[in-house]
């Protein structure tokens, strides 16, 4: 392999390493996204209806609430279908409506917050793997460099190592693209919680 080839690989790795490893917030060194990490959501930023403090995980005791939460939290359920299901369920006297609304919102918040945390943990896990891979690629490139500099270089060894570097770089790049795409998912989940909270609150107006 020619020196120009090395420089090309170094260039590719160099440009690839910068983006995912850079952490904007020093508190979360593994966080790979441009979007700032907000570890936990608070109900107060989504809901100005009656307090759900007393509900806890009590919403899980009512199968009807549980089924509704499962249906409306799912991304495959279109928002207008979710709004309709909410309006059909939250009926009755003012007190009954309040109780139902609190339980449904608590269920939506718990379910989707948990999903959001899973996605965020996954992102950090993949980000750590990326950093390990980056270190490995860097070491392999240095080895390759050293091998090539030897007077009687083992061409077969060079070829094998070069091909390994190429593959690792490809995996690194693919993962980087996936990370960028998945970085939008926590926000998408927040939008869903907010939209559902608004629809639930509307039944009380």
């Amino acid at each position: 392999m020619k020196r120009a080839g090395f420089f090309f690989i170094l260039f590719v790795i160099g440009s690839a390493l910068i983006a995912p490893v850079r952490a904007a917030d020093t508190r979360y060194p593994d966080w790979p996204c441009v979007q700032p990490k907000v570890p936990e959501l608070s109900t107060a930023s989504m809901w100005d209806g009656p307090s759900i403090a007393a509900v806890g995980d009590g919403w899980q005791n009512d199968p009807k609430v549980k089924d509704l939460v499962e249906l409306i939290a799912a991304r495959r359920t279109p928002m207008d279908a979710a709004q309709k299901a909410i309006a059909e369920f939250i009926t009755g006297t003012a007190d009954e409506k309040q109780q139902k609304a609190k339980e449904v919102f608590a269920g939506v918040f718990d379910t989707l917050s948990a999903q959001r945390s899973e996605v965020m943990d996954g992102l950090e896990r993949v980000s750590r793997k990326e950093m390990d891979l980056a270190t490995k690629i860097e070491a392999d490139v240095n080895n390759l460099h050293a091998l090539e500099d030897k007077p009687n270089a083992d061409q077969a060894k060079i070829k094998t190592l070069a091909s390994e570097v190429e593959w690792s770089t490809r995996i690194f790049e693919d993962r980087r693209k996936t990370i960028r795409y998945v970085c939008d998912v926590p926000t998408t989940i927040e939008q869903r919680i907010f939209g559902l909270a608004r629809a639930i609150k509307q039944t009380l107006n």
Binding site: E40, A44, S45, T187, G195
Partner: protein, 322 residues
């Protein structure tokens, strides 16, 4: 005779209906469009295709154009309010984000985010006539009611720069909390309010002494402090109430201007950014970047009374004066 009478009533009703309808133009940063909202029907009546990354948006004084800063195109586009199409452009300099006009409407002062500059444009001539070097990442722009002082905030330098618009030089700089985003004078010009997004505060500055005389802090029950990021500030024309958009806290704080005390927090949409009053002062519209909508606040009742879906990542609002 009867026909004329009926037609007359119909005409009066139509005119009456039109009289209360204002037009609000909302810049959608991600969809590269401007949504036109009719404030009578509270719905989008037209979506206008504009340049890339539209953010700062405002009417010209003669109401003939709505100007929109298209940061990624390094230009300010002029939307003809008659045809609702882009008719012309202004040479804004690189990455324009926000701007304000001179009280006579002749000059435009533009914050160039990536160039540490405020560019001055003669709107009629469509020409740059000067520039002022300011701090790093200039953002907020405000003109004092008497037109004598221009304020620019710089996000990274954490300062409010006092600029003499005639001499085009920085007279003084006041240090505020981290990442100052927006500046607004009270209608009588006696106070300058500057929001700090990361600092989470609004600094109240005495514009004569040029010192911070008070700081407004925010706390929402059940919420950690980090999502509370003040951005837009709108003060009622009687100078009594200020509304502060708190970004990802999804709330607008209502502040008593005299005492600097928060009276109420209103849940609006997600990532609330900039706002605009209807000219009659009855409503305040707030652009919510993540929920992609505009909240309508009833100013007298201090209640959110409507929500209008717009494009993606709504940023700012320009309101017609009739």
């Amino acid at each position: 005779m009867w026909l004329r009478f009926i037609l007359g009533i119909a005409l009066v009703l139509t005119l009456d209906g039109q009289a209360s309808a204002y037009r609000a133009y909302v810049s959608n940063e991600r969809s590269n469009t401007v949504s036109l909202i009719d404030t009578d029907a509270w719905k989008v009546v037209k979506t206008i295709k504009v340049g890339q990354r539209p953010r700062g948006i405002a009417y010209t004084k003669d109401q003939k154009y709505v100007l929109v800063a298209c940061g990624d195109d390094d230009t300010i586009q002029m939307i003809d309010t008659g045809t609702n199409a882009v008719a012309d452009t202004l040479p804004s300099g690189p990455d324009p984000e926000f701007f304000t006009a001179s009280p006579d409407g002749k000059f435009l002062y533009v914050a160039n985010e990536n160039d540490n500059t405020v560019t001055i444009i003669d709107i009629a001539r469509r020409e740059q006539v000067g520039a002022v070097q300011v701090g790093v990442e200039p953002e907020g722009m405000a003109m004092s009611p008497d037109g004598k002082i221009l304020i620019n905030t710089s996000e990274t330098t954490n300062m409010a720069h006092f600029i003499d618009p005639a001499k085009r030089e920085v007279l003084a700089s006041v240090l505020v909390d981290q990442r100052p985003r927006f500046a607004a004078f009270t209608p009588d010009g006696s106070e300058l309010w500057v929001s700090s997004e990361v600092g989470g505060t609004v600094s109240v500055i005495d514009p004569v002494k040029r010192v911070v005389k008070d700081k407004i802090e925010f706390a929402i029950a059940g919420m950690r402090s980090d999502p509370i990021q003040p951005v837009g500030i709108n003060i009622t024309s009687d100078g009594k109430l200020a509304f502060i958009a708190l970004g990802p806290a999804n709330h607008v704080a209502v502040v008593d201007v005299k005492s600097h005390k928060v009276i109420k927090y209103l849940l609006v949409g997600q990532r609330v950014w900039h706002m605009a009053f209807t000219p009659d002062g009855k409503y305040l519209l707030a652009a919510n970047g993540v929920s992609n909508d505009v909240s309508v606040i009833d100013v007298a009742a201090l209640k959110v009374v409507n929500t209008v879906q717009v494009g993606e990542l709504p940023w700012g609002i320009a309101m017609s004066d009739h």
